[in-house]
């Protein structure tokens, strides 16, 4: 890879790793997995860039790949016993998996997000990272109409949870 391409990848890493890592932590709730997926995301960027397919918009591309990897991993994690032991309720926010969240508000949000489906959670988190509905629809692979429905339902569900638990002050 020409050094300018390598530099572009590294610059993209420095620009976006923090947001991406936070996104992956929030959606996977597992530091090890989030780290793995972050690395995987950027190694794919290395590949794309080397193949001359550097994305026009690094941020959008990176979030889309990260979201897909996270969703894809979620689908793989259906082996019964492992998945069963990962079940957790809203009260489990203090478990080691979520130790990155040290604020009460974040815990409540984390717990509330955990009640959403993977796509709905991704949509909420992507919105929090500044993407609009159209972009999110593309990133999670749904139609804008379906995404709009997914997102307003998710927002109402979050409101329900946060207002009843007294969170999100």
């Amino acid at each position: 890879m020409a050094s300018t391409r390598a530099a572009a990848v590294i610059a993209a890493y420095d620009d976006h790793q923090r947001d991406l890592f936070s996104f992956l932590l929030a959606t996977t709730r597992n530091r090890q997995v989030a780290e793995d997926l972050l690395q995987e995301t950027f190694l794919r960027l290395v590949r794309e860039t080397r193949a001359g397919r550097a994305p026009d918009n690094h941020r959008t591309w990176l979030f889309r790949v990260a979201a897909n990897l996270a969703a894809s991993r979620g689908r793989r994690l259906t082996v019964a016993v492992r998945a069963m032991s990962r079940m957790r309720g809203p009260d489990d926010a203090a478990s080691p998996e979520s130790d990155y969240l040290d604020q009460e508000q974040s815990r409540e949000l984390d717990a509330a997000l955990g009640t959403l489906s993977v796509d709905a959670r991704h949509a909420m988190l992507l919105s929090a990272h500044g993407f609009d509905g159209q972009e999110i629809a593309q990133m999670i692979g749904r139609t804008p109409l379906a995404t709009r429905s997914l997102m307003w339902r998710a927002r109402l569900q979050l409101r329900e949870l946060l207002e009843t638990t007294g969170g999100a002050r």
């Binding site: 890592f21 690395q39 689908r75 793989r76 032991s85 909420m124 804008p144």
Partner: protein
């Protein structure tokens, strides 16, 4: 006039999508006379802002190092030059990290206790030594955080951090400076000097004898990111010790350790040749749109004393690819014929199926781990449906081929599969875009206060069965 529920949904939708003029007019008219909905709207907007304020943190520096190495390595014509450049960049990164900390921004990777700086820093240089470690082989980290430095000096630049339970390779030792005993150690891509002990405290110690049966999941990283060469130690009684990061936080007891190709090869070779592995299934996948790209191998194996799962991910362009592919082929040659249509990973029922009552609960897109059963059953908003489960689902498959933790790879009959798929499509759980259907299914029943779950990975027509496709819609 729209009702409250519609008004709420429109206000929620408006956060992410523009409303049509009609919708906006209807909403405005409703809000003009409804204090309650205006309050809800304010709450919705506030929550959306709060989401954006969730705690953020940067990734550990070693991921940056791996990305850098991959970016610089790939296609490099002058590897020596590139390695020098990489080293320079790593050094720059380390300096950059220090600056970030100095400026007050938190970088969790640097928030480590540094046992290499004891309070009695004026200790004499001739410290009496505790038992020496061998100068090769493995040792275990015994403190929560242990700094690794470029040289055996407390003033030397730090190159990384070890965690309690990390099993490191001893490369060189021992060297005593400032009353501290140092060893040069390696953990994955991290190599450097770490303090093993002073006169009274031991920070790195001998590997304890393994206890119990270990369940090991070997997860290969992208070859381009692997700069390590880790060896696997396989104990003849089936207990495994591998160098690598300490066991992950996975509460199910799965432990993850990172291996190189050589490590993976040794591990599987040892395991297969010793007869401890009975390979039950191997799947190959390739992400869509990645011609000649990465190939992921998922190999489930059952060891005599416990289940083992090997997930290998290789690139056909990488020099190590041939090794991994050969390995996977060797393993898959031992594998059973794949099921015909649908792949089911199911926990074996502890009781006879006919003694149980059960339902099939479907959640979209593998969200299995994210829901408590009560939520699934009670909340229609999460696309929940309860289907009658064909008894044959529990009876198919060969118990001798049960995978990790009693998981079973088995197939449904075409009729059962068709019924399920029809239900899934009705629920809108399929992604028509790539003709793949991913559904997580939880089987739940009450039997002696135990809950047993079942995972179903379903793929649409035209896709090789028993393949857990990798790429999603990307």
């Amino acid at each position: 006039m729209i009702d409250h529920r519609t008004a709420e949904s429109l206000m929620a939708a408006a956060i992410d999508f523009p409303l049509s003029p009609d919708e906006q007019a209807g909403l405005d008219a409703h809000l003009a006379g409804c204090d309650q909905c205006r309050t809800v709207g304010a709450q919705l907007r506030r929550h959306s802002l709060v989401l954006g304020e969730m705690a953020t943190e940067g990734a550990p520096m070693r991921i940056r190092s791996a990305v850098e190495a991959a970016a610089l390595q790939a296609g490099a014509t002058n590897q020596r030059l590139m390695l020098l450049l990489a080293a320079a960049l790593l050094a720059a990164a380390a300096i950059g990290g220090a600056i970030v900390v100095g400026s007050g921004l938190l970088d969790l990777d640097d928030l480590t206790i540094n046992p290499a700086l004891p309070s009695h820093s004026a200790a004499p240089s001739e410290a009496p030594l505790l038992a020496e470690l061998p100068t090769s082989g493995f040792a275990v980290v015994k403190v929560s955080e242990l700094t690794v430095r470029a040289e055996p000096l407390t003033s030397a630049s730090r190159v990384g951090t070890l965690q309690e339970g990390d099993i490191v390779s001893i490369l060189e030792g021992q060297t005593a400076t400032d009353g501290l005993v140092w060893y040069r150690v390696r953990l994955s891509e991290l190599t450097g000097w770490a303090t093993a002990r002073d006169s009274s405290t031991e920070w790195i110690g001998e590997l304890p004898e393994p206890t119990g049966t270990w369940v090991l999941r070997v997860q290969r990283q992208y070859p381009t990111g692997a700069l390590n060469d880790v060896t696997v130690v396989l104990y003849s009684d089936g207990r495994l010790v591998t160098p690598g990061r300490s066991p992950s936080l996975d509460p199910s007891g799965w432990q993850q350790r990172r291996l190189t190709d050589e490590g993976t090869r040794l591990f599987v070779q040892e395991a297969v040749s010793s007869g401890l592995l009975d390979v039950s299934a191997a799947y190959e996948t390739e992400p869509p749109g990645y011609e000649g790209g990465y190939t992921a191998w998922y190999i489930s194996a059952v060891a005599e004393q416990g289940p083992v799962m090997v997930s290998a991910l290789s690139s056909s362009e990488a020099p190590e690819a041939a090794l991994i592919v050969a390995l996977a082929e060797r393993l898959s040659a031992l594998a059973v014929d794949p099921p015909t249509t649908w792949l089911v990973d199911a926990a074996r029922a502890p009781e006879a199926p006919e003694a149980l009552t059960y339902n099939l609960v479907v959640t979209p897109f593998g969200a299995l781990s994210d829901f408590a059963p009560e939520q699934l059953l009670g909340d229609a908003d999460v696309d929940t449906v309860v289907l009658p489960l064909p008894t044959s689902v529990l009876e198919i498959g060969d118990p001798a081929l049960d995978g990790p933790s009693g998981a079973r790879c088995a197939s449904l009959t075409p009729d059962e599969a068709a019924a399920l798929r029809e239900a899934f499509y009705e629920l809108g759980l399929a992604r028509a875009e790539n003709d793949l259907l991913y559904v997580a299914v939880r089987l739940r029943w009450a039997a002696q206060d135990s809950t047993v779950s079942l995972g179903l990975n379903a793929v649409g027509p035209g896709v090789d069965p028993c393949v857990n496709a990798y790429g999603g819609t990307g």
